[in-house]
């Protein structure tokens, strides 16, 4: 993974120092910025492969930073949010962030998210059959098998599962799922998604109370454990 450049926009020096150790230890290159405005500039001039953005910057609202970057770039953005910042978190995701980690987080958790985000930049079609433990998703054949047994999903259910699978390990928001699969007019129809997820869980033998595959991020979206 050498040559992968990660921009960290964070105002707290100790956190930046610790992130540098973790990120460079994982073999990535890290560039940093203390302020939102400077961060946006660096994102433009230094062309990072991923941006880690703290939502609580002193000079600029996190959402504004995301919006500024999204004007010209599809670079993955990972948001660092504080707990209890549910509303802000969802707003950041809606503004175009790709995933979030809640402070305080472990290095392992952060690196897993970074890798998932970097991986997703590669086209999914290249890997037509995805495997998550004993769950096999065959995208061209529209087929799903759990422990060798066929799970008969409807078209929408399959599309939901396929979308989660192609973003494995990453958060997929309600809005993203609804607008991609049901169309932009249905972004508020959360119950469509709820029912579909319920059916998928039942058909692939997953339990909401003890999830093996599909994890609910309350109020935000779903994540396929990968």
């Amino acid at each position: 993974m050498s040559g992968t450049r990660i921009l960290v926009v964070e105002d707290e020096a100790p956190i930046r120092r610790y992130l540098r150790i973790a990120i460079e230890g994982a073999g990535f290159e890290m560039i940093e910025s203390e302020r939102g405005r400077a961060g946006v500039e660096r994102a433009a001039t230094d062309a990072p492969d991923l941006v880690v953005l703290d939502l609580g910057l002193p000079d600029m609202d996190g959402k504004a930073v995301i919006a500024a970057i999204r004007e010209w770039s599809h670079v993955p953005i990972l948001v660092l949010s504080v707990r209890d910042g549910e509303t802000e978190k969802v707003a950041a995701l809606d503004a175009g962030a790709d995933d979030y980690v809640t402070k305080p987080f472990s290095t392992q958790e952060l690196l897993a998210r970074l890798r998932a985000l970097l991986r997703s930049r590669k086209p999914v079609e290249a890997k037509a059959v995805l495997a998550f433990g004993d769950l096999i998703i065959d995208i061209p054949a529209h087929a799903v098998r759990r422990a060798g047994v066929d799970a008969r999903l409807t078209r929408k259910e399959f599309e939901v599962l396929a979308m989660l699978a192609s973003h494995a390990g990453r958060l997929v928001t309600h809005r993203q799922l609804l607008s991609t699969i049901w169309g932009p007019a249905h972004t508020e129809d959360a119950h469509y998604l709820r029912i579909a997820i319920g059916h998928i869980r039942e058909k692939i033998g997953d339990d909401a109370a003890d999830p093996k595959f599909i994890l609910t991020e309350p109020g935000v979206g779903y994540r396929l454990l990968g």
């Binding site: 707990r83 209890d84 549910e86 305080p104 472990s106 119950h191 709820r194 029912i195 319920g198 039942e202 339990d207 909401a208 109370a209 003890d210 999830p211 994890l215 609910t216 991020e217 309350p218 109020g219």
Partner: protein, 894 residues
């Protein structure tokens, strides 16, 4: 009589002496008439005192331009007079406030009977003097005999001049010393002629009208007698205070019976003189009957003014209530109070009522055989006025209209009956009688009487021969028609009285209902503001006025706290001054009272044992506040409101104390918690990290240190999170964002977050797939579940099972989390949800923060849910159950 009982000093006498201490001493220079040299004597005495070293200030002295008097003023400190503007006229007045601020040892204040310029604090100068005395300043003043209230009538009779400015006798009684300035009449007249009293020019008229020798002689005698009787009083008081045996005052009393007659005030003055002479205490009483309520306003005012006068003259005043038989009510009262003498006014001729009702005075004379009754005659001229103002017969055109209408309807009914010849004409009288009765019962006495007369005419016109004329031929008809008139008048009177009685009963019933309503309202309120509003409303509704309640703010300034219909935009300075005065002196002030009467508002102190504030009342007719009947009602209402406020205040204080104690306990617990729970993890983190600094540490030790540091840091994180949550709960900042959500998903996400905490336990989630959705904030309920799971992992031994179950109840979903730990003793199961409560059992060290379960309860209760701790199945372990509300969204199709 040698028994100890009699030799003891009379308590009243001792009290009286005690009351005088701490107050200023009052000395009055009393003269029989102007010009005898009171001011001169007063100034001489003041100079003497000043030479003795007393701090003497001249508050106000009128020299009337007399040179010898003015000379005496020289060398004495004189206060500048206050300039007042009254209707564009610049007037000078004694400056009370300046004197109170200056606070000399002795103040000279001339002309005690003076009426103050309107706009001053008090109506009368003697009230200023009382306030000065109350402030502990000695006062020297001057007064002429004709200004003493109880002698007012006598002086008027002697001189033919009625003095308007009077001083109540109680003020004279209060004087510590009275010095009579005596000048023989001849000498006074001589001084007048020399121009030493009045300036030349006005003298002739003054001599003619007032300063005649017989007048002056009589006044001199009156003054001498007054001072002499006072000396007696003083002697008596001294004897009592020093417990000397001597004449003891009897317990007998004089009762002055007052009615609405214009004589009432004279009666009161006579009563006062009589009581004074006989050294008896006296009572002025009036009886309110149904008739009284129907009296015109002016007549009622006569009664109330007389009662006020009596009060000012030192009488006890009483208002009795009677349905009828005022005389009997008075006599019953008199016997109960050991009254031996009655004072009544001469009965007035009361035609036409005299035939149907016996005047109270006559009835009294008949029945009061065991009393000494004194009848006071009216002064000439006044009696005429009394007859003119016959009460109850206020004639108006509407009465006449009712009379005509009543008679017309009766005629319309009677005529056809007569024309058809159904009954003989004399029987038709009954129909007219019914009309009279109806009008009387419906519209009152006067319309009934009007109807009687018109019916009489109508009957005469239509049914007595010759018909359709007012002439009567047969003697039989004459007798019949006259009997009809008498009967109709009688019926009408009775019906009118009946109506008045009903009206009175309604009024009193309404008042009772209001009192009851207020008591009920206030009993239900615990908030001071509500009670104040109820009080303001109660005052306004009962007394039919605008009302205000003022209470002192933190800075001590009185401010409006409630009002009905509302508080005033801004109270004018006069009203504010009256309010302050009422509050500070614990006496009514403002409209209708002698203090600051120019204010539109009347203020009554609101006090139980402590002064709480004042109630302001604004009547449409400002004189209503002076009516003793209204004053008594105000007193009753004010008492109720004050008690209600006091009660609420005490309840609030108690509540505050409890909250404070509770808060104190919480603060201590929080400090303990912070020092222990915040520091312990930090100790491990810092320790582990510094351990890692060592270079020669084996890899296994490094790993162990990292693990310890990490676990403790995470514990600290959870603790901080809980503290934050608790703070949000405590400050009410917690607003659940409730959505329709699947409880199983919340459980799933909570478990995922607690991966490491739960790794040494087996977690079994046995949640039915068809569990209905709940209406909850997934984040908060997730946190609550996580806290319970964490507790379970902490207390239950590693390797044991944590079981999650759920079932649908009547109103919601019940989630239960059971561990196989040591369990919670039954007595503590409710307390574990209290903030900072930790279970201590045996030698186990409490490891919790005392926050986790408190937050669970806070979060669940924010969802109107309930949470409880139980023993696990078979009595082992702990089960925590929480009820969560069902979602109102329709269930998803399967």
């Amino acid at each position: 009589m040698p028994d100890a009982e009699r030799d003891r000093p009379a308590p009243e006498a001792l009290l009286d002496v005690a009351r005088r201490e701490g107050r200023g001493k009052l000395k009055i220079f009393l003269g029989a008439s102007p010009g005898v040299g009171k001011t001169y004597a007063m100034l001489e005495a003041a100079r003497l005192r000043a030479r003795e070293g007393v701090d003497v200030v001249v508050g106000l002295v009128e020299t009337h331009g007399r040179a010898e008097t003015e000379a005496l003023l020289a060398g004495l400190e004189a206060l500048p007079r206050k300039q007042l503007d009254y209707r564009g006229q610049a007037l000078e007045e004694f400056d009370l406030d300046a004197l109170l601020t200056r606070k000399p040892g002795l103040a000279l204040i001339d002309e005690l009977a003076h009426s103050n310029v309107p706009g001053s604090r008090h109506l009368k100068r003697w009230q200023d003097v009382i306030e000065v005395l109350d402030a502990g300043i000695d006062v020297v003043t001057a007064l002429n005999i004709q200004h003493i209230e109880s002698l007012n009538d006598v002086v008027a009779r002697i001189t033919g001049v009625r003095v308007q400015e009077t001083v109540p006798d109680v003020v004279i009684q209060r004087a510590d010393e009275i010095e009579l300035i005596d000048l023989p009449p001849e000498e006074l007249i001589g001084r007048l002629h020399q121009g030493k009293v009045y300036r030349a020019g006005t003298i002739g008229r003054a001599l003619d009208n007032f300063f005649t020798k017989p007048n002056l002689t009589a006044l001199r005698e009156l003054a001498l007698r007054t001072v002499a009787s006072r000396v007696d009083d003083e002697m008596l008081r001294l004897m009592q205070a020093n417990s000397l045996t001597g004449p003891w005052p009897t317990q007998e009393r004089i009762l002055v019976c007052i009615n609405e007659s214009p004589l009432a005030k004279s009666l009161v003055r006579a009563g006062r003189r009589m009581a004074e002479r006989a050294d008896l205490s006296w009572i002025a009483a009036t009886v309110v009957t149904t008739r009284h309520e129907a009296l015109p306003e002016a007549a009622r005012r006569q009664t109330s003014e007389a009662l006020q006068l009596a009060e000012a003259l030192g009488a006890e005043t009483v208002t009795l209530h009677a349905q009828s038989g005022a005389a009997d009510e008075l006599l019953t009262f008199a016997r109960a109070r050991n009254v031996t003498r009655l004072l009544i006014g001469r009965p007035r001729r009361r035609w036409p009522f005299g035939i149907v009702r016996e005047p109270v005075a006559d009835r009294l004379l008949d029945a009061a055989t065991d009393f000494e009754v004194t009848i006071v005659a009216a002064e000439r001229g006044k009696a005429v006025a009394a007859r003119l103002k016959l009460p109850g017969l206020s004639f108006n055109w509407r009465s006449l209209l009712w009379g005509i209408a009543g008679a017309a309807i009766a005629t319309l009914v009677a005529l056809p009956i007569d024309l058809l010849g159904l009954v003989p004409p004399p029987s038709l009288v009954v129909i007219y009688m019914v009309a009279v009765l109806f009008v009387g019962a419906r519209f009152g006495l006067v319309p009934a009487l009007a109807t009687s007369v018109i019916c009489f005419l109508a009957h005469n016109f239509f049914y007595t021969a010759p018909r359709y004329s007012f002439t009567i031929q047969s003697a039989e008809d004459v007798v019949g028609i006259v009997l009809f008139l008498i009967g109709a008048l009688f019926t009408g009177t009775l019906a009118g009285q009946l109506r008045a009685q009903v009206a009175t009963m309604r009024t009193s019933q309404k008042r009772t209902a209001m009192l009851y309503d207020f008591a009920k309202r206030v009993a239900a309120k615990s908030d001071l503001d509500d009670v104040l509003y109820a009080g303001a409303y109660h005052v306004a509704a009962t007394l039919n006025c605008r009302s205000l309640i003022l209470m002192p703010s933190k800075t001590g300034e009185l401010e409006q706290v409630q009002g009905y219909p509302s508080i005033e935009e801004e109270l004018d300075p006069r009203a504010l001054a009256a309010a302050r005065w009422a509050f500070e002196h614990n006496e009514p002030a403002g409209a209708g009272t002698p203090t600051l009467p120019t204010s539109e508002w009347m203020f009554v102190p609101l006090a139980t044992a402590n002064p709480l504030g004042v109630v302001g009342l604004q009547f449409k007719d400002s004189r209503r506040g002076a009516d003793p009947e209204v004053r008594r009602l105000i007193q009753a209402v004010e008492d109720q409101v004050a008690v209600a406020i006091e009660r609420t205040r005490m309840a609030t204080d108690l509540g505050n104390l409890r909250v404070e104690a509770e808060g104190e306990k919480l603060r201590t617990a929080l400090l303990n918690s912070l020092s222990h729970d915040l520091r312990t993890p930090l100790v491990s983190v810092i320790g582990a990290l510094t351990g890692l600094e060592a270079d020669d540490l084996p890899l296994t030790s490094r790993k162990a240190l990292v693990e310890t540091g990490l676990d403790e840091a995470k514990r600290l994180d959870r603790y901080v999170q809980n503290l934050l949550n608790m703070t949000r709960l405590e400050y009410g900042a917690l607003k659940p964002r409730r959505v329709s959500v699947d409880l199983r998903e919340i459980v799933g996400s909570a478990r995922a977050n607690l991966n490491r905490v739960l790794e040494r336990h087996k977690v079994v989630a046995d949640l039915p797939r068809d569990l209905p959705r709940i209406d909850a904030d997934p984040v908060l309920i997730g946190q609550a579940i996580a806290n319970i799971l964490e507790n379970a992992a902490k207390y239950a031994p590693p390797g044991s099972t944590i079981h999650l179950g759920a079932r649908t109840g009547r109103s919601g979903v019940m989630l239960s989390i059971t561990d196989e730990g040591p369990g919670i003793p039954e007595a503590e199961r409710e307390k574990v949800f209290d903030l900072f409560y930790r279970v201590t059992e045996g030698d186990r060290r409490p490891t919790g923060t005392g926050l986790g379960l408190a937050i669970v309860r806070g979060f669940v209760e924010a969802h109107e849910g309930r949470v409880r701790a139980l023993a696990g199945p078979n009595g082992h372990g702990t089960t925590i159950e929480m009820d969560l509300p069902l979602s109102t969204d329709p269930p998803d199709p399967a």
